[in-house]
Symmetry: C2
Subunit: 238 residues, 2 copies
C-alpha cells in the first residue's frame, strides 16, 4: 500500500512538472522573472512584501495563494501593485500548497506584459509547497526567529529547496532565548549553499538588502548558451 502511495505521488509530481515547464515558458516569453516565496503560517511573508515592494524600482506583481480569504491580497493591493488571488479551497479541494496547475489557471488574470517580476506568495506551510514546482525561477523562504532554531532539521526539504532564507522578526531577538548561530549552523547542515538575510518587517532592518535581491532576481537572466564569438576573433585558450 505504501508503494502504491509513493507511485501515485511520483505520478502527480511528474504531471505537475510538465505544467510547471509550460508556466515557465510563458514567463520567459513575457520576460518576467518569478520568485516563489514560502514560509510557515505567520512568519511574515506579506508584511515583508508590504515593506519591500514600494520603492523597488521594477514593475512587480503578486500572485497570492491562500486556502481561504483575501486578507493578504487586500493588504498588498493597497500598495498599488497588481495582485491576483488563488484560493485553494475553490475548486482545488483546500490544498495546503500551490501547484503548477493552480498557477496556470490564474495566469490569464496576471498582467505578465506589464511586469518584470512576479512574486508568488505560497500557502503558509513548511512541507508540501517545497514539493511542487510552479514554473518559478527562484525560491526563497521566510523563517521567523519566533519559530525556534530547529526548523531546518525538521523540514529539510523546504530549506533545501530555497536559495535564500529571510530570517525575519529579528527585532524580537532580545526577548527570545534564540541562538541565531545555531539556526544558521542547522541551515548549513541541510543546505550549505543557501544565502540568508537578517530582516525585520516591523523595523525595516535588512529590507533594503531584500530589495537588492529582488532587483537582481528581476534583471534579465544570462542566456544559457555561450555568447556568440565575433567572426575573426579567436576562441580564448583554455
Amino acid at each position: 500500500m505504501h508503494r502504491t502511495r509513493v507511485r501515485i505521488v511520483a505520478d502527480v509530481l511528474d504531471a505537475n512538472d510538465t505544467i510547471a515547464r509550460a508556466n515557465n515558458e510563458d514567463f520567459e516569453a513575457a520576460g518576467v522573472s518569478v520568485v516563489n516565496l514560502m514560509s510557515a503560517p505567520g512568519a511574515g511573508k506579506t508584511a515583508l512584501l508590504e515593506r519591500a515592494l514600494p520603492h523597488l524600482g521594477v514593475r512587480v506583481g503578486v500572485l497570492e495563494g491562500d486556502v481561504q480569504g483575501t486578507l493578504d491580497a487586500e493588504r498588498l493591493a493597497s500598495l498599488h501593485v497588481p495582485v491576483t488571488q488563488i484560493q485553494t479551497d475553490l475548486g482545488f479541494g483546500g490544498e495546503c500548497h500551490l501547484d503548477a496547475n493552480m498557477v496556470r489557471a490564474a495566469l490569464p488574470e496576471v498582467p505578465l506584459d506589464e511586469l518584470d517580476l512576479l512574486v508568488v506568495e505560497n500557502v503558509g506551510n513548511l512541507v508540501c509547497p517545497a514539493e511542487f514546482r510552479i514554473g518559478e525561477h527562484r525560491r526563497a523562504m521566510v523563517c521567523s526567529v519566533a519559530e525556534g532554531e530547529d526548523k531546518p532539521l525538521k523540514y529539510p526539504l523546504m530549506f533545501r529547496a530555497c536559495e535564500l532564507v529571510l530570517v525575519n522578526k529579528i527585532d524580537l531577538l532580545p526577548h527570545l532565548e534564540y541562538d541565531l548561530d545555531l539556526f544558521l549552523a542547522n541551515l548549513r547542515t541541510v543546505n550549505p549553499a543557501c544565502a540568508h538575510l537578517l530582516v525585520s518587517a516591523r523595523t525595516g532592518e535588512g529590507v533594503e538588502a531584500f530589495r537588492d535581491w529582488l532587483r537582481a532576481a528581476a534583471s534579465p537572466r544570462t542566456p544559457a548558451r555561450p555568447p556568440a564569438v565575433a567572426p575573426g576573433v579567436p576562441e580564448p585558450a583554455r
Copy 2:
C-alpha cells in the same frame, strides 16, 4: 478534473475515518483518552508539553509526529514519559499530517495498558492535520501570538476542528503589535464555542490551567447511554 480530485479526496477521507474508528475502539478498550494536539511549525507544542506533562498526576504518553527527525521525541523522552515516534517520510511519502493509518501502524509500540492519556503531537501544519481524524477524543491547537491575529480567518478549518486553542508565547505581548481582542474575535467568528487559554511555555503562565484541561480530558468519559434506572424507582416526569 477538479471534480475527480474532490472525489478522490472524499474517498481517502472515508477510508481514513474507518481506520480512525478502529483506533478509537482500541483506545476505548484500553481506557485511554487521546488528545490530538496541532499547530503551525514553531508555535510551541513540544515546549508546552515539556512544561505541562511533569506533575500532571495522570499516566501520560506521547505519540510524536514529524516529517523527519526525532528532536521533539528526544526532548519529551527526557521527561521519562513513554514517547513513540512517527516519521511521515518513512514509508508514508513525507506527508504533511498524521492520518489514522499512520497512527494505527504505530499503536503496537504504544503501551496503551500503562496510560490514562495519550497526547498525539501532530506535524506542524495549519491545513491538512485538521482534515484527518486519527481516533482521538479531543482536539486542541497551539497558536503563538507571534503568528498574528488573522490565523483563524485564514485557516478556519483548523480552528473549527478544535475545542481548545492555547494562545502561546504571551510573554512576547509587550514586544509585539498584537491585538489579542482581535484574535479572540476572529476565533469566535469561525468557532464561537471554542475555549482558549493564555499560556507561556517560557514563563509557565497558564500552564496549570492547561494541566487541568489535560486532567479533565484523561478522566473517564460519561457513557453515551443514560444511566440505568433502579427497579421500582419511577422515571422522572418530563
